[in-house]
Amino acid sequence: MNDARCEEYHELVSAFVDERLDGPDLLRLETHLEACGGCRTFERELRHFKELLPAVEAFRTLRRPPAGFAALVAARAVREQGALTVPFPAARARGRWVGMVAAAAAAALFFAWSWQRLLPVGSPEQKFAARSFSPGVEVAEAGSMDTWMREHAMLARESTLLGHAEEAEFASFNAGAVAGR
């Protein structure tokens, strides 16, 4: 992650970790890894998270996780591994391990989990209030499964249907490419 060029190697690293890489791509990646500490770290993290994935799957198959379990596991992942919490389509496109890192991070953090460490609420609204304006209005978009999924979720949200409030956001962010951090 030393520079923008590393982004293009992440997909190769993901394939490398999956043992799906060979030929010129393998040679190119190995050459890059020798010179790039950031990508070596990235590779090491992916291998580590891959080892932890069975724990994530075990968590996923729970019919009824204990109250508080998932929330704190996930929250810790988000709070302490913020850079790993962009498992949206653009991230997945770089390789499937990148997309699974957040959940694996959650599993990793579960092992170090304690119940008492809730942080105070911050005030992140302030940083957004300072952004500039540029109003302009265009007509609404035509239909596709993406836009209809967003419409569906937005309407569900307006109806305050259970669990749909965030789905509108997910639907939107899954509808197209997502800018990473």
Partner: protein, 346 residues
């Protein structure tokens, strides 16, 4: 013989005691639901979507003030949703747009008694053991569909003082696995909130895409507005009722959305004069037989979609139902006129 009678009687009494203690009756659940008490709050929520190829974890900050004011910020993507009392503004940074539409008075997530009332038609509702969520005392309510496997089972933790939904778990229709988790990690009531937080500030260079008011219409009015026949399903799963028909026509493009709900889950039937394929093709979608048509499945996470082309329009059905139910509903779709016609002579 007397001993046997005594044992049976004791068993019945024990069963009654247990049933009243563990699973409250529907009426009891409604009584137990705290009346919504509007309160401003600030919190941070974690959401995990387990339905896609890799679990997606994200978090968001939420500010809410009674009167239809809300602000949500998605931490990972920088997406923002602002509801300013009149309009809903959704900023999608990856697309460089803000979607603006009239607010429907939403804001806050409160379990409403009428939701429960409607849900009782198709779910077994009971109170289950609960725990504190984000430091708040909660009441957990479980919604199990009468037709197990037809639609998701849900568990909802409600703040006993404010009615705010603190935590939601959704379990998949097909496999009973946890498919969605949404929970407040941190929550503070009555915080000092800056009014500017509820005004959308559109970043420079970002275009605003505005939708006007889209009131609920009758089929004839929707047909007239959109310029295409309104389609409706002849079959709906238990508890689902039609809630709204929305229609629009712009620059020759007509679209109708018919919405059905069972109190907890929603089903949308879209039809349009044209259809745009996904820019990022996820690969060949599996076909699905729909009577005389062939449709395609779309995996949209918790929501499943079917799209198909009928002689009168492009159609798509989106919902959380099991695939067999989705296929049954989509296969029963006819134009409103066809459904209104008297049955053919036998």
């Amino acid at each position: 013989m007397d001993t046997l009678r005594l044992r049976v009687a004791c068993g019945l009494v024990a069963a009654l005691v247990l049933s009243s203690g563990v699973g409250a009756s529907a009426q009891g659940v409604e009584g137990l639901l705290p009346p919504p008490a509007p309160a401003s709050y600030r919190g941070r929520k974690v959401v995990i979507d387990f339905t896609r190829s890799g679990p997606q974890v994200t978090s968001m900050s939420i500010l809410c003030r009674p009167g239809g004011f809300e602000r949500r910020e998605m931490h990972a993507t920088r997406g923002i949703l602002v509801i300013d009392g009149e309009s809903s503004w959704q900023y999608l940074p990856e697309r460089g747009v803000v979607l603006k539409r009239p607010s429907k008075g939403e804001g806050g997530e409160v379990m409403r008694p009428e939701q429960l009332q409607q849900a009782l038609a198709s779910y077994d509702v009971r109170v289950v053991s609960s725990a504190r969520v984000a430091g708040r005392q909660s009441r957990a309510i479980e919604f199990t569909p009468h037709q197990v496997g037809s639609r998701p089972r849900r568990l909802v933790w409600v703040d006993v003082e404010t009615g705010l939904i603190l935590r939601t778990e959704v379990y998949g229709s097909e496999n009973s696995r946890l498919s969605w988790l949404s929970v407040f990690e941190e929550l503070e009531y009555h915080p000092a909130l800056d009014a500017a937080a509820f005004r959308m500030q559109v970043p420079a260079g970002v275009r605003v895409v505005e939708s006007g008011a889209e009131p609920c219409l009758e089929p004839a009015a929707a047909e007239s507005l959109a310029g295409l026949p309104v389609a409706l399903p002849d079959y709906l799963p238990e508890g689902f009722v039609r809630q709204c028909i929305r229609a629009r026509r712009e620059s020759g493009y007509g679209e109708v959305q018919v919405v059905f709900g069972d109190g907890l889950s929603m089903l949308s039937l879209f039809e349009s004069t044209s259809f745009r394929e996904a820019e990022q093709d996820p690969g060949p979608a599996p076909p699905v037989a729909l009577g005389g048509f062939t449709g395609r499945w779309h995996d949209l996470g918790r929501v499943t979609g079917i799209s198909w082309h009928a002689p009168w329009a492009h159609l798509a059905l989106l919902g959380e139902l099991s695939r067999s139910e989705m296929q049954k509903v989509a296969g029963s779709v006819r134009t409103h006129t066809e459904l209104s016609a008297p049955p053919a002579h036998q």
